[in-house]
């Protein structure tokens, strides 16, 4: 071994990386032996019984696929399963979208939301002249990492107002208004993660006008379509608004939550272009990003999605199961709000029922969070985000007790 390496290892300069802050919560939770422990960390849906859920329609689709004797496991094209791509574009943009009909959209299958964002970011870093991307404060912890590693420079725009626990709309408009022409702007299509605070439709329209007037490039992250309000179309309104004005945008989709396909890693990246031949050239360059990263995407999850989306019965079944998940979360919000009110817990907790989607940004600080973990075995990310999907009517009282204790004992 080389004398440059004191312990004889070429890896001696490699330090231990900290656990991922979000996924690390589950790691810590798993180590806890307390019977009352509660995992409100990662955004994975749980049933009222606290169990992971595989949708019935997904099981049905899998059954069909596994039993189909003609099914093979040949490499997908670099851009993924064609049928899946078309159906995904229709899902987010609407089947009647002129952009689709005019062939101005290129859609490539991606590794869930993360992979789709990464491919889009790499593409922009290579082919778009503006390398600055604006992300909201706060945003999903993995966003800045994805964009930075792809070669984009990350800036922020104001989003969450801790005073109102709502949207800092004025700050948002100011910051986007000050952005350089052509800058990329990351937008959460619905159910903002981690805050659960979404712009109203009127606010979206203002954002759209501002962005178009400054030539800012929208990059949507749509990880919760159907999960926010229970309606797939309603949750896609923000994206469709931007496409309707004829302008360009990127949209990353994930089926992790709304189809419960978390571990299958299914998603898509769509780039809406001004012209069909541009979309075609863009697609060819997306392939150059994908090939040296993983060659072509995994087939299983995409096949499940395609099977469901193209069959009207299964599609309908899916919308019913999706609404049931969204409704359960909404009812958990109400339960938690009521429980805190019943305990007389200080502060205004109405944001719990105003926020939308899987998460609630409680407003608890890191000390309070640490206290709740230590004393009540409640696991959540240190920014105070809780996954409502991890709650049940049985566990809400425990959480309410913990929040009450944290708020009254820790400033």
């Amino acid at each position: 071994m080389s004398s440059q390496h004191p312990d004889g290892s070429v890896f001696s300069n490699i330090v231990r990386a900290p656990e991922d802050p979000i996924l690390g919560v589950t790691v810590a939770y798993n180590k806890d032996t307390s019977p009352i422990k509660l995992n409100l960390g990662v955004g994975a849906y749980r049933t009222e019984e606290g169990k992971p859920l595989v949708l019935n329609v997904v099981r049905r689709a899998e059954q069909l696929l596994v039993n189909d004797p003609s099914r093979v496991k040949e490499y997908l094209p670099i851009v993924g399963l064609a049928e899946f791509n078309k159906l995904s574009a229709k899902l987010i943009f609407g089947a009647d979208s002129p952009a689709i009909q005019e062939n101005r959209v290129t859609t490539v299958q991606g590794l869930s939301g993360t992979g789709s964002l990464r491919v889009g970011a790499e593409f922009l870093a290579r082919h778009y002249y503006q390398h600055t991307i604006y992300i909201p404060v706060p945003t999903w912890g993995n966003h800045p990492k994805i964009f930075t590693i792809a070669g984009l420079s990350v800036k922020t725009y104001r989003y969450y107002d801790p005073e109102t626990r709502g949207l800092d709309f004025k700050g948002l408009l100011e910051d986007l208004g000050a952005a350089p022409t052509g800058a990329i702007v990351l937008l959460h299509a619905c159910a903002h993660n981690p805050t659960g605070v979404d712009p109203t439709l009127e606010q979206w329209e203002q954002i759209r006008q501002l962005m178009r007037s400054k030539g800012l490039l929208p990059f949507f992250d749509s990880a919760y379509q159907g999960f926010a309000s229970g309606s797939l179309d309603a949750d896609a309104q923000s994206v469709r608004m931007f496409v309707a004005d004829g302008g360009e945008c990127l949209a990353a989709q994930s089926y992790a939550k709304n189809m419960g396909l978390y571990g299958e890693r299914v998603g898509a990246l769509s780039i809406v272009c001004k012209a069909a031949d541009v979309a075609s050239r863009v697609e060819s360059q997306l392939k150059l990003v994908i090939r040296p990263m993983y060659s072509n995407p995994p087939i299983h999850g995409a096949s499940i999605v395609a099977t469901i989306l193209k069959d009207s019965d299964m599609y309908n079944e899916w919308t019913v199961e999706l609404k049931a998940m969204a409704d359960r979360i909404i009812s958990m919000r109400q339960l938690l709000f009521d429980a805190l009110r019943d305990r007389g817990t200080p502060r205004d907790w109405s944001h719990i029922i105003k926020q939308i989607g899987m998460f609630t940004f409680t407003g608890l600080n890191t000390e309070q969070v640490a206290f709740m973990t230590k004393e009540y075995h409640i696991y959540m990310t240190s920014d105070g985000r809780i996954s409502m999907a991890g709650l049940s009517s049985r566990t809400v009282p425990h959480l309410a007790d913990a929040i009450h204790a944290a708020v009254t004992r820790i400033p």
Binding site: K73, E74, T114, N142, D245, K274, V278, V289, N296
Partner: protein
């Protein structure tokens, strides 16, 4: 009224405001050009093209994006699909075909999938490093259960997206922690290797490998080039069934390769995409990797289950890093996770579960070994038939025995680019332009036709 005005403006792309009045988005924009140069030293700079002011309003911001060429390997299948000839033969991508030239899903895979369906397992996120059960069996398959590197916990194994994804994780690790270190790749090598290292911004250079005169290994050239490389380089080695040549070092040669690598404090980096497919024996095909590990060397190994378990589209593989200590392995693993998180967060479960079920169950594992031998056996038969056909038909007395000496899925025919094009254009035989044919896509029935095509291309095209 104001909002209407705003709507009209919003439809326009104000490109005229970009770059403070500059109209070009091309290389005249020096800061962008230089920034791109700095960021991507190993990538060709893309040009953005000119935007005409008159049509700036309706022009796409991606107008300057050029059409990329089709992938040299995967693009072959696309071209094949578009060909209407009844004689067409796809010898492009390395995907196993039956004698009837049909894709093949292994019986053990079907069994595993049915088991998985019966069990009704959930689809929760895997940890970033992948399925623990998979990581365990994949390490054991590669190094042998009970191998000291596993017993001593000196091995970091992270599930990756087949071979490509696993190579990419390793490349990113090299870029981050071995700045300036080069990867030495064989000449020739799998076409995508260069793309992976380019995109990961890892510099590479080639070592001599294939000798066209002997249609064999240029062993002296290989050793010489590895020796000449800067100390601490990574040496990319194909564990078995070298792609595209099918030419593997002998065990004695592997020892000498290990010698020179140790001498120069290089780090071996194995690409194992054909374990079991080369000789038909899983253990025999892992002997090169095990030889290096037995010497106590630190090394990297990328694995793929695309071919040997026919799991192509499931994208299942792993990156293994053998370290000199358990502590180093833990640190390396944590950094591999850190690389995976902003790439795809965590890997896909389906393929991992299939492998864990097949390799982890003694009955299924034995059944797999049998299917593996059948697949490798079919390819050996096809090699023999092709050799026989060529020897019988070729009036010029060319020595075709290299076909029998080469191992694995591919044969490096020695056909030039022009000759390979003749194969396609005249004979509807689809192959890569480097002269590589995938024997996995050849049936006994088609050997004579292929022999005619090869002889014609060799002798009548220059």
């Amino acid at each position: 009224m104001a909002s209407t005005m705003l709507s009209l403006v919003s439809a326009a792309l104000p490109l005229q405001e970009n770059h403070k009045g500059k109209m070009n988005l091309g290389s005249s924009d020096c800061s962008t050009f230089l920034r791109k140069e700095k960021r991507n030293p190993f990538m060709k700079t893309k040009s953005f093209g000119r935007i005409n002011m008159a049509i700036a309003v309706n022009t796409s911001r991606f107008e300057g994006v050029t059409m990329a060429p089709p992938d040299p390997i995967l693009g072959v299948s696309e071209a094949f699909r578009a060909d209407n000839s009844l004689m067409k033969l796809n010898l492009g991508v390395g995907a196993y075909r039956t004698e009837e030239l049909q894709p093949y899903v292994l019986n053990v895979v079907k069994k595993a999938e049915n088991l998985m369906l019966e069990r009704g397992e959930n689809k929760e996120y895997l940890p970033i490093e992948g399925l623990a059960a998979f990581n365990k069996v994949t390490a054991e398959l590669l190094f042998g259960a009970g191998n000291p590197v596993i017993e001593q916990q000196r091995l970091a194994t992270v599930q990756g997206l087949s071979g490509t994804g696993s190579l990419r994780l390793a490349a990113a690790l090299i870029e981050r922690y071995f700045p300036g270190a080069k990867v030495l790749i064989s000449s020739p090598t799998w076409g995508n290797h260069k793309n992976i290292f380019n995109d990961a911004r890892v510099p590479w250079s080639e070592y001599r490998y294939y000798d066209p005169k002997t249609v064999g290994l240029d062993f002296d050239g290989m050793i010489s080039d590895i020796k000449a490389a800067p100390e601490g380089s990574f040496v990319l080695l194909h564990g078995c069934a070298h792609n595209p040549t099918g030419i593997d070092p002998t065990p004695e040669q592997w020892e000498k390769i290990a010698d020179v690598i140790q001498e120069k404090n290089h780090i071996p980096f194995f690409d194992v995409a054909y374990q079991g497919f080369a000789s038909g024996s899983l253990d025999a095909d892992a002997s090169s990797v095990r030889l290096f590990a037995a010497r106590g060397m630190e090394l990297l190994v990328a694995q793929s289950y695309s071919k040997n378990l026919g799991l192509y589209a499931e994208r299942i593989g792993a990156i293994n890093v053998v370290c000199s200590s358990a502590d180093a392995a833990a640190r390396v693993k944590s950094q591999l996770k850190r690389i995976a998180r902003p790439m795809y967060s965590n890997p896909p479960i389906h393929g991992a579960r299939i492998v864990a079920n097949v390799v982890g169950d003694p009955a299924l594992f034995n059944e797999w070994k049998e299917e593996m031998e059948l697949m490798a056996g079919r390819i050996k038969n096809v090699r023999q038939k092709l050799f026989d056909s060529l020897s019988a038909k070729d009036k010029c007395g060319k020595d075709w025995s290299f076909i029998l000496k080469q191992i694995g899925m591919f044969s490096f025919t020695g056909l030039s680019k022009v000759q390979s094009e003749n194969m396609t254009n005249k004979w509807h035989v689809y192959m890569t332009k480097d002269g590589r044919i995938s024997l996995a896509g050849l049936s006994l029935a088609k050997c004579e036709y292929l022999a005619d095509a090869i002889i014609d291309s060799f002798h009548c095209v220059s």
